[in-house]
Amino acid sequence: MLRTLDFRRAALLCAAGLAVALASGCKEKSKQPEANPTNAVFDDFAKRVDAYVKLRKPLTDSIGDLDPTKSQAEITTRATSLANAIIAARAQAKPGDIFTPEIATVLATLIKQEYSRRSEPVQETREDQQDELPDFVPHVNQVYPTTYPLATFPATLLPLLPPLPDALEYRVVQHYLVLRDVEANVIIDFMPNAIPTGGPA
């Protein structure tokens, strides 16, 4: 099964690579590209994610790890402290810092293609669950409103996206693909128009 997914991902990435090549401009047209432009875009995304993790590390070190506790207050306090520290450390952060236009182009192409290949039952499931999608507009450095559910991430899409460290996860809010810090519950970046209308759970 994993091999099949890898193959699907490779096929989708080829298509996404074409999108990148087109997006990177016709001025390069005459050159023979030496490497797949998509790889460079994914590498850049990984570097930006790494940079976030490096920025986060001293913050978690100073606040301390959280061991399982009976104290609900301890969980809340740590999440809030971490969120405040991250927001302060990234006060200048803006949309697109991690989801750059280049990776956004690749991911949007990949996601749209994946959606177009959905079987009818999957499409129906995603449409049926529109009512579960959180109905707010995400912002960078926003604490994800805890009164909204975290929409279930489409299980067959997830393996196609670049892997993330434990600290981060992808989420869907309306048509946005959101990058969320799991423990701090903070939106780190988002990508508009990533999710086709009519999708996902």
Binding site: K70, Q72, A155, L158
Partner: protein, 285 residues
């Protein structure tokens, strides 16, 4: 050791919250050395109905001394401030908690993953985990976010488990007749593993009803998502369905003894709305 725990739980329950409530009759066999547990889903509202269902759990616990509970997600609806943990979990289940019942939660789509740090949920800081009781291995899956890492973990754990019974539980139903329909994407990634590694029974929530399905690819599925919320009239006759209940809230009691799983599903008012016994897949062959 298990027997001592059970004895403690039973004794404590008999002397705590159940003192003013008459015990309920149960038809579960209460065999020596059996694994007995409570199944509840979509419970965390803090509303009156959650307390009423919890009271029935306590009443049944007097006759059917279970030692642990599995929670199928949506453990806390809405905000998750410290007072919400209290109102939506600690208070409704106080008698059970005081009686030593161990709650083992899975995460639902309304749950902040930070719940994994809440000790009484026994997630041990993980979004997914496995634990063993007697001859039963439980697999707690986070069906909200089935990343490749989790699937790899699940396959490894399923393949290495030598337990007689393999029981995964999580939030989203792979099969259901309820309004929102089955999670076919979740099914696409989980079902092949369940079939390959001999899973016997699966418990899920999400839909606020009770359904027991006809075996699908040899696996029994229970949807037990009505421990507080209810979608009245939301299950439908179908060849998929072996039993269903959508007129009131409900929970399930299970006992595994050898190759048999006995169960009773109980409504908020204390009525048994479904019961039966299932055989282990290997034995059914």
């Amino acid at each position: 050791m298990i027997s001592l725990t059970r004895l403690y739980a039973a004794t404590a329950l008999a002397t705590l919250g159940a003192a003013t409530l008459p015990a309920q009759q149960v038809t579960l066999p209460l065999k020596n050395g059996s694994v007995r547990f409570l199944v509840l889903g979509d419970a965390g509202t803090g509303d009156r109905e959650q307390f009423e269902v919890a009271n029935q759990m306590v009443r049944y616990a007097q006759r059917f001394p279970f030692t642990f509970a599995i929670m199928l997600g949506d453990n806390l609806y809405g905000s998750e401030r410290p007072q919400d943990f209290d109102k939506k979990f600690m208070r409704p289940y106080k008698a059970l908690l005081d009686g030593g019942i161990e709650f083992n939660a899975a995460l639902g789509n309304h749950d902040d993953p930070n719940q994994r740090y809440f000790k009484p949920f026994h997630l041990d800081g993980q979004r997914y985990r496995t634990f063993k009781k007697g001859n039963v291995r439980f697999f707690v899956i986070d069906s909200n976010y089935l990343d490749p890492e989790q699937l790899k973990w699940l396959e490894k754990e399923l393949s290495q488990s030598g337990s007689d019974w393999k029981i995964p539980y999580f939030h989203h139903p792979l099969y259901t007749t309820a309004r929102r329909g089955p999670e076919v994407e979740v099914r696409a990634v989980l079902e092949p593993l369940f079939v390959k590694y001999g899973v016997d029974v699966v418990f899920v929530g999400h839909e606020h009803i009770y359904e027991r399905l006809q075996p699908q690819k040899g696996i029994y599925y229970f949807t037990v998502g009505g421990a507080a919320k209810l979608r009245k009239g939301d299950t439908h006759p179908s060849p998929l369905i072996a039993a269903r209940f959508d007129r009131d809230r409900s929970f399930l009691l299970a006992e595994i003894a050898g190759d048999s799983l006995y169960f009773e599903t109980v409504s908020r008012t204390g009525a048994v709305v479904d019961k039966g016994v299932l055989g282990r897949r290997e034995v059914r062959k």
